[in-house]
Amino acid sequence: MRRFLSVCVGLCLGLLARAEDRVHWEITPRVTAPGQPFRLQIMVESDVVLGGAQFISREIKPPRGMALRLSGQIIRPDSNEATFNFSGVAPEQLGEHVIPSFNLRFARKVVVVPEIRLRVSDQVTFRREAQARAELVLPDRVLYVGELVRGAIRMRGGDDEAVVASYGLESLAEGFSMAVTAERQPLPDALGQGLQTTFDLTPIREGAGEFALNGIMLVQNGEAGAFNQGGRDRPFAFRRRLTVAHVPERGRPPEWNGAIGRFVAEGLQVSKDKPEVGEPIRLRAILTGDGNLDRILPPELPADEKWDVLPATERRRHAEDQRMFVYTLVPRLPGKLRTPAVRLATFDPATKTFSRLEFAPLEITVTGNAPAQVDLVTADPAAPVAAQPKAVTGLATPEPNRSSPFFRGSPAGSLGDAAGFWSANATALGLVLAATTVTGVLGYLAAHPEIRRRRRARALMRAALAEAEACRRRGDARGFAGAVVRGLQAGVAARLDAEDQAMTQSDVERVLPGADRARLDGLFLRAHADRFAPAASLADAGDADADLALLRRLLATR
C-alpha cells in the first residue's frame, strides 16, 4: 500500500511539473578578435508546437559597438523546434561582451533566451584586411546648427571578400536632419573595391546628441562572378556622440546670413548689358562652394541714386554645389554704371572664423536721358511773335443711330480672339490637305497599274506556296505540282504583263534566269499531264524543296 501511494505521488508530481523549454546558443568562433565577424546560432526546443516567430530583431539588444542582425530562421509549422541564425561583427573593445537576455516570441508561446556572452581578445589571429568592413566617415569636430555636414558609409572589400550590395540602412539621429544623397556608389579607385552611401547631415539643435547608423552589406567570398552566387550578409553599426553648437556670436559680421562652409563668389551675370534708363534688368549672383548653400538667405541689396532694386523671384536650380541670388535692377541714370555690390559673410567651421565675400561688380552702359535733364530753348524776347495758324476744330454733331454694314463688332476683342476661330480654320486646312493627299495617292496608283497587278500576284504566289506545302504534307504530288505551277504562272504573268494561264516554262526562264529547265518541264508535265493524256507516273517526282525554292525565289524578286 505504501509503495502504491509513493508511485501515485510520483506520478502526480510528474504531471504537475512545469514543462521546460530548452534553449541552446553557439557563437562561432567562441573568442573573436576586435572587429571580427562572427555567427550566432540559437536553437530552441519546446514541449509544444511553437508556430511562427514574430519581431525577433526587435527584442535583441546587442551591446555598444557590436553589430548583430538576424540572417535566417528555420521554423516548421508543425514542429516544436526552431533555429535562428544571426550574423554579427565583434566590438573593438577587448573583454567579455554580454547580449542581455531577451524573448523569442512565437505564435503559441514566448521563450526566454538567457544572456549570451562573447569574448573579444587580441590573442586571436585575425587579419582585418582580409574581410569586408564598413567605415563611417564623419568630421570629428564640433558641428554647428544649420551646417551641412557631408558624411559617408564606406563598405570596403577585403582581400578575401568583396562587397556586392548593401541594404537596410537605418538611422537614429535626434536633433539632426539626415538625407541620403547617393546610395551604393562604387568607391574611388584609391580605396579599393567596395561601395559607399553618402548622406547629408544638418544639426538642428544645440547640445550633445547620439547619432546611430546601422545596415547590412552583402559580401561574397573569392572572386565575384556569374558562377559564384554564394553571398553572405554582414551587418554594420555605428554610434557616434556628436556635439552641436551655435555659430559664435563673437566676431559675427552683421551681414552674416547663415552661410556655413567654404564658398567662392563665382561672379555676376546681367540679362542685358546696355539697358535704357528705367528698363529693368536681371542680376544673378552665383555662389559656389562646399556648405549649406540652400540655407543661405539672399543678401539684401539696397536701392541707391543709381539703381532701384525690385524683389525678384528666384527660380531654384538644384545645380551641383551652386546657388544663384537673383535681383531685378532698374537703372535711374544714364552712363556707365557699376552694379550694386553684393556682399556676403560666411563662417568656416573648420577654422572657426568668419570671412567676407564680395561679388565683383559689373560695368553696365545705360542709354537714354537723365530724368532731370531739361532741353533748354534759347528765345529772343525782342523777336516778333510768330502767329501760329490755329486749326479749325470742334466736336462733330453726334449721329448715334448711324450704322455701317461693314464696321461692326466690339472693341473688347477681335475675331482672332474668338474661341474656335483658329481651330476651325486649322481643322478645315487639315481636311483639305488630307483630301489632296488621298487623291494624289489614288491618282498615282491609277497611273501605275503594275503596282496592283504585282501585289495581286504576290498574294496568289503566297496562297500557292501555302497550298503546295499542304499538298506536300498530304503526299499529293499532283496537287503539289499544280499549286507550284499556278504560283509560278501568276508571278511570271505579273512581270511580263500577260495572262497567267498562257505562261510556259520558257516564260519562267525569262523571269528567273538560270532556273533548271528540266525541273520546270517536270513540274509543268506533272501539273498539266492529265489534261492531255492519261495521268503520268509520279514515280519520278522531283525534289519538292527545290520546286518550292523556285517559287520562293520568284516571290522574293522585286
Binding site: 535704357e276 534708363v277 528705367g278 528698363e279 529693368p280 536701392a303 532701384d308 525690385l310 531685378t328 532698374v330 535711374r332 537714354g368 530724368p371 490755329k390 486749326a391 476744330t393 470742334g394 466736336l395 462733330a396 454733331t397 453726334p398 449721329e399 448715334p400 443711330n401 448711324r402 450704322s403 455701317s404 461693314f406 464696321f407 461692326r408 463688332g409 466690339s410 472693341p411 473688347a412 476683342g413 477681335s414 475675331l415 482672332g416 480654320n425 478645315a428 486646312l429 483639305v432 483630301a435 489632296t436 487623291t439 494624289g440 491618282g443
Partner: protein, 251 residues
C-alpha cells in the same frame, strides 16, 4: 418692279428711322450732357456697342470735362470704325484745343486704319482659303489648273500679302491706353517711390509695353518712356463703356 420697290423701301426704312433723334440725342442737343451720357450708356448696355454710339458718348463726356472717358470712347469707336467722322473730329478737337496728346500713327497704323482689325482678319482668311482652294481643287479633280485659276491664285496671294501690314498695324493700334487719372506721373522705375520723370495729363494716349510690379511701361506721344501704375490708365481695347474708376471692386 413692285418687288424691287418693296425691297428698296425695306432697306431705306432703317435709314429713315435713323434720322429721328432719340431721347439721348435730344438731351445732348438741349445741353443736358449728363442725361445724354446716362441714356447712351443705357442704350449701349441694352442694344450693344456701335461706333456711332461710342462716338456720341465721347462727345457728351468731353462736354462734361471728362477727357479720359471721352478719349476712351472715341478710341474705341475708331477700333470698330476707323473712319467714324464724329470720333475723328472729337480726337482732332482734343488734340488741337483740348491739350490732349496722342502718339502720331505710324505708316503701318495709318494703313491699318483703312479697315478695322476684324475686316483685315476676314480678308486675310478669305484670301488664304481662296489660294488653298485654287491649289487643291484642280488636284482633287485631277485636272490641270486653268488660266482663270492661275489669275485667282495670284490675286488672292496679293490680297493676303496686302493684309499682313494691316494685321500688324491693327495689333499695334490696340496696344495703346488712355490716361484716366488727372495727375499722373511718369515714373523712372516701377516702384511705389519711383522717381517721377514728368507728368502725363488725363486723356493722353500712350503706347503700352510690358507690365511689371503693378506698373506698365508706357511711351508717350513725344517718345518718353517710363512707368505708370496699372490703375492709372485704361487700355483702348476693352469693353464698350469706359471703366468706372471710382467704383470699388467687389470684395
Amino acid at each position: 418692279m413692285k418687288t424691287f420697290a418693296l425691297l428698296l423701301l425695306c432697306w431705306l426704312a432703317p435709314l429713315a428711322a435713323a434720322e429721328t433723334p432719340g431721347a439721348a440725342a435730344q438731351a445732348y442737343a438741349r445741353g443736358d450732357y449728363a442725361g445724354a451720357v446716362e441714356l447712351w450708356s443705357a442704350e449701349v448696355r441694352a442694344e450693344g456697342v456701335t461706333a456711332a454710339r461710342l462716338a456720341a458718348l465721347g462727345n457728351a463726356e468731353w462736354r462734361l470735362g471728362r477727357k479720359g472717358r471721352a478719349m476712351i470712347c472715341w478710341e474705341r469707336a475708331l477700333l470698330i470704325d476707323p473712319r467714324d467722322p464724329v470720333a475723328l473730329a472729337g480726337i482732332r478737337h482734343g488734340l488741337d484745343a483740348g491739350g490732349v496728346e496722342r502718339p502720331k500713327p505710324t505708316a503701318v497704323e495709318e494703313y491699318a486704319s483703312f479697315l478695322n482689325a476684324d475686316l483685315w482678319l476676314l480678308l486675310a482668311v478669305a484670301s488664304f482659303w481662296t489660294t488653298v482652294l485654287c491649289v487643291a481643287v484642280p488636284r482633287l479633280r485631277g485636272r490641270p489648273a486653268g488660266e482663270a485659276n492661275q489669275w485667282t491664285r495670284v490675286g488672292a496671294l496679293t490680297v493676303l500679302a496686302l493684309c499682313v501690314p494691316g494685321l500688324w498695324g491693327g495689333r499695334s493700334l490696340a496696344a495703346r491706353a488712355v490716361v484716366r487719372r488727372a495727375e499722373v506721373s511718369l515714373r523712372l522705375t516701377p516702384t511705389q517711390f519711383g522717381e517721377p520723370l514728368r507728368g502725363v495729363a488725363e486723356g493722353d494716349v500712350v503706347r503700352t509695353e510690358r507690365p511689371l510690379n503693378g506698373h506698365v511701361r508706357v511711351r508717350t506721344a513725344d517718345g518718353k518712356t517710363g512707368w505708370v501704375r496699372a490703375g492709372e490708365i485704361e487700355a483702348v481695347r476693352g469693353p464698350g463703356l469706359p471703366a468706372d474708376l471710382e467704383q470699388k471692386a467687389a470684395p
